[in-house]
């Protein structure tokens, strides 16, 4: 998606340790007009797939998922990272390892919001090692719903998550795949 690649080149900042900061438009400050274009592009790519639910994970996936959901006309469910008092009862849960936060956490979805008959699209801002997305895919599987695929805004193609999940037969549509980036020169190479 050219608009997105241009934006990453213009406003993305490459930091030590292969970190790409896109917090001016994607995951801290959020450019909602860009999200609308992202929604249209996912809709185009998953046309005809009869998606009836979008599943994402807190926190930075939620905003994108909600705007994307408008293109599909479906509700969003977000997996929670911590058990709260307000989610009681029956839940699907699995464990996810976060490299960003350096810990393992549970992700949780109430059973009543995901189940047989649902055709689910996963949405997230980043795909790197793939742990979060794998966790979401597992929640879908546990629920008996059908996983249509995953729409990712930025995939770090030099990390193993994308390959790993595609090899499991999951359809991944990433709007920008970064094959390499150079902290010193600021150069970013996108996959064609």
């Amino acid at each position: 998606m050219q608009l997105l690649q241009d934006r990453i080149r213009k406003d993305g900042k490459i930091k030590e340790g292969n970190v790409l900061k896109v917090d001016s438009f994607l995951n801290h400050q959020m450019d909602i007009q860009l999200f609308e274009e992202i929604g249209k592009e996912f809709k185009r790519r998953f046309e005809g797939e009869k998606i009836n639910k979008i599943l994402t994970i807190e926190a930075s996936g939620i905003g994108i998922a909600c705007v994307v959901a408008q293109s599909f006309g479906v509700p969003v469910v977000f997996a929670k990272k911590n058990q709260t008092k307000n989610i009681a009862g029956d839940v699907y849960t699995t464990k996810v390892e976060s490299f960003t936060h350096g810990r393992v956490y549970d992700i949780i979805v109430a059973k009543e919001f995901l189940g047989k008959g649902d055709r689910v699209l996963l949405i997230d801002d980043f795909l790197a090692n793939g742990m979060a997305l794998e966790g979401l895919a597992e929640l879908v599987q546990l629920s008996g719903a059908e996983l249509v695929g995953a729409g990712i805004v930025i995939e770090k193609g030099f990390q193993q998550g994308g390959d790993l999940l595609r090899s499991q037969g999951i359809r991944i549509e990433s709007l920008a795949i970064i094959d390499s980036m150079n902290e010193k020169t600021g150069e970013i190479v996108f996959r064609d």
Copy 2:
């Protein structure tokens, strides 16, 4: 907002300890079409206020804020609850006490996304004791931006947050204010 009150009566569940569960349409599964109507209503109420930024807090505020932002044509910034590796450098921060989670946490916004010249609308799903909203208002004040007001989906009018913040001169627009609710009968009384 009648549509919202009707929805709360239809799908809200009253639990022990004055908990109102609205996770089938507001803060776990999210009804995006309802969010669009909420966005139009906030736009109507804050018409002419020249709002150029919406500020919310992770996680459940984000989805509503992003859809509301489409009515205003402005970007959203969400305050983060935990310092992550990916937010370095200059931030505004304050402390918030959460009754739901039973702890005190820091909320953080990068300085580059909030500052003098901004006219900010706060958006959140719930207003109860007002701690989160007060924290957001403090971030706005620290940044030198102007606080236009707060748009709240559901206010628990029997808790002190709304009164407290209004007495500080903050304009609060709540789309549904609950004056009382009864766990046993399921009755909910909305303020006129």
